[in-house]
């Protein structure tokens, strides 16, 4: 996005671009809240919802603790079924492995279904540089691919785009009628266009939702059926996955399949839940296992639970900041609360503002199907970022000043008293200016007549011990 490798990405700056169009911001907010409400209805339809979350989190924690054992078991079982397993330390190696397979088959046309990992590794531009045509086949992903931009959400890639814009885009690229914006009509046009791509592709690339150590197979979930067509028409199937996608047992799928679609889109299950075990007769199956920073996240006690993530997107749909600032303001492939946890792990300096794109409301933690303590992790990141002296001067100076003042209760009381009076008479330009982020696009609340401590003193003190400890200023 707008971030470059030299200047750190600034969430507030990119969010401002999105919030400039207020009606669009509200439309985006409501679209996502609609998905969040559907999720709630689904979660409430199951009395065992909380138990499912607990057990899924337990499976993930156990798996991450015993990852070498399960990765080895998976590799062995998958190889026995006839798949070829590859290992990639980072994104560059992942891309080289995929390219090498494509070139070995002298293939020129690749169809890809949704895979956040290949987005993370920027596989598409890499393959295109080598003269390979890569078509994203998920409708939302195809839309953003034609617009030459990254997805803005991990489950709903085109959630930020209006149907009229899709209409214009398809008119240009697929020859639909000018001005047509009916989703049914546009989807039909994409269906026709992508059918041809499926039939002509030589290689199909998919992501992986869950890989089962016990059986050596893996599961891919879609609603459109694009992963299935892409993995069953071309002879060669390449499945790309992060090493954290492993689960130990076949039956563990019960927990995750029940949680995934309900959390993601409020469906009881996705339309297609496909279980791949080995290549098709006469076909080839490659599985690329990628680290790309995951082992580092595993090393950190605080950040490790982020490896539980099943990429449902529920934390984005519920996040008041994401809903109003849009996925692109996060400047990375995975936006929202989970992105704000994962991205600084890859590069804390580059993504220093993301842990502050959060009101610490904790809604993400409440909806996460695998119990990632997202808002606690975001708070921990703030400490880390402040410790690394990566804060902007306006933030670090004001935080330093506040800390100094809070340690001097008498002075704090006096400053409060002065401010309550002074704020009434201060001209607007002295309160609302570029150094006061809190005065942007909103009014500072009217100063109260008395402080909490003043009010407290007027209250009848019934319980002596209670009032003594809570009255505050003892010095």
């Amino acid at each position: 996005m707008s971030a470059t490798s030299t200047a750190p990405h600034q969430h507030p700056r990119d969010a401002e671009v999105f919030t400039a169009n207020e009606s669009r911001m509200h439309w985006h907010d409501q679209s996502l809240w609609f998905v969040r409400s559907k999720r709630d209805r689904m979660a409430k339809s199951l009395p065992e919802w909380e138990e499912l979350r607990r057990r899924a989190a337990q499976v993930k924690q156990h798996t991450v603790a015993n990852l070498p054992k399960y990765l080895e078991a998976f590799e062995q079982a998958a190889t026995k079924l006839g798949a070829t397993v590859h290992w990639a330390a980072d994104a560059a190696e992942h891309n080289r492995i995929v390219l090498e397979i494509v070139q070995r088959h002298q293939a020129k046309r690749v169809v890809k279904s949704k895979s956040m990992l290949t987005e993370e590794c920027h596989l598409n531009p890499f393959l295109e540089q080598h003269g390979i045509r890569v078509i994203d086949t998920d409708l939302g992903e195809r839309i953003v691919q034609l617009r030459n931009e990254p997805p803005s959400h991990i489950v709903l890639p085109a959630i930020h785009i209006k149907k009229e814009e899709v209409g214009e885009l398809f008119h240009q690229h697929l020859g639909t009628e000018r001005g047509a914006s009916d989703p049914q009509y546009l989807t039909e046009a994409a269906r026709g266009h992508l059918r041809e791509e499926f039939l002509e592709a030589e290689i199909g690339i998919t992501g992986v939702n869950f890989a089962i150590a016990e059986t050596g197979g893996f599961v891919v979930c879609t609603n459109e059926g694009n992963a299935d067509l892409g993995a069953s028409l071309p002879k060669v199937h390449i499945a790309c996955m992060g090493i954290e996608k492993i689960i130990p047992r076949w039956q563990d799928l019960g927990f995750f399949i029940r949680l995934l679609a309900r959390s993601a889109t409020g469906q009881p299950i996705t339309t297609y839940t496909s279980h791949f075990h080995g290549p098709r007769p006469g076909g080839e199956l490659h599985i690329v296992l990628v680290d790309n920073g995951r082992t580092l996240i595993r090393d950190s006690d605080m950040m490790r639970p982020a490896l539980n993530c099943i990429r449902c997107g529920a934390c984005m749909n519920t996040c008041p900041v994401y809903r109003r600032s849009g996925g692109h303001s996060y400047g990375s492939v995975v936006p929202g609360p989970i992105g704000s946890v994962l991205n600084p792990a890859a590069d804390a300096s580059q993504h220093r503002t993301l842990p502050y794109a959060c009101s610490l409301c904790g809604s993400c933690t409440d909806v996460c199907p695998v119990k990632i303590p997202l808002h606690h992790q975001l708070l921990a990141w703030r400490k880390e970022i402040a410790g690394k002296k990566l804060l902007s001067p306006t933030k670090s100076i004001s935080m330093y000043a506040a800390s100094w003042l809070f340690q001097r209760p008498r002075l704090f009381g006096w400053v409060g008293k002065v401010a309550r009076v002074a704020l009434r008479y201060t001209p607007r330009f002295m309160i609302y200016h570029r150094l006061n982020d809190w005065g942007k696009a909103r009014e500072i609340p009217a100063p109260p007549n008395q402080s909490f401590r003043e009010w407290w003193k007027t209250q009848p003190q019934t319980d002596a011990t209670d009032s003594k400890t809570s009255a505050g200023d003892q010095r």
Binding site: S31, L46, P47, E48, R55, V59, Q61, H62, A65, N66, P68, L81, G82, W87, A89, D138, L139, L156, P157, A158, I159, I161, K163, V166, P183, Q184, T187, E188, L194, F198, N223, E224, G225, N226, D228, L229, S232, L233, R249, W250, Q251, G254, R258, T265, Q267, P268, I269, T270, Y272, T273, S274, H275, F276, H277, G278, R280, T295, R298, D301, R304
Partner: protein
């Protein structure tokens, strides 16, 4: 050093807090009338589901449906109900299935909590046909319904190199402004006949 070795060294170099694996046993949700719940869920996910009391009802529904769709190319794994025009066994390349209009098949199992149907390529030689067809007409027996996914995974298994599929409803997308459209890439309709 290979990347594989590097990843394993890194993982083994750091011991982290472990917990035991949970059991798969419930209590999980149960339904007094599994058939009714299943029927409701198939409709909820965009399909239609008819309960049939006997073979005659099934046959008459299939006839009705064939008249409605007017399929030219039919893959039928239940030839006594619908006459196939294509024989999967004789087809070498899945690309030949491009123009299939209707697939008629029986699901091994159905799941009441989400309307999902289970298939493997042990029954269906070219699994592509389940995705590429325009319409699906699926039979499932009430006695083969289970309440939830835990029971489903306990019952179904993949043996060796096999493909397995839970299918719930027709292909769909809501990628354009959250408007639900049926028939994204796969089948446009899913009709389920539930035989008591």
């Amino acid at each position: 050093m290979s990347s594989r070795q590097a990843i394993f060294d890194r993982l083994r170099g750091r011991e982290v807090e472990d917990v035991t694996l949970p059991s798969h046993d419930g209590p999980w949700i149960t339904f007094a009338d599994r058939g009714a719940q299943f029927q409701q869920m198939v409709q909820f996910v965009g399909g239609t589901c008819h309960r049939c009391q006997n073979e005659q009802e099934v046959a008459s529904f299939v006839t009705q449906r064939m008249q409605a769709i007017q399929p030219k190319q039919i893959v039928s794994l239940l030839p006594h109900l619908a006459t196939p025009t294509l024989d999967l066994a004789k087809i070498e390349d899945a690309h030949e299935l491009e123009a299939v209009d209707l697939v008629v098949a029986e699901a091994e199992l159905g799941v009441a909590e989400n309307g999902a149907l289970w298939f493997t390529d042990a029954q269906i030689k070219h699994r592509t046909v389940l995705f590429i067809t325009q319409h699906l007409l699926i039979i499932v027996k009430t006695k083969n319904l289970v309440d939830h996914m835990h029971a489903a995974y306990q019952q179904v298994a993949v043996h060796g190199a096999q493909f397995g599929l839970f299918l719930s409803g027709p292909s769909k997308t809501a990628d354009i402004e959250q408007s639900l459209v049926l028939g994204a890439h796969g089948s446009r309709t899913l009709e389920v006949l539930l035989i008591d």
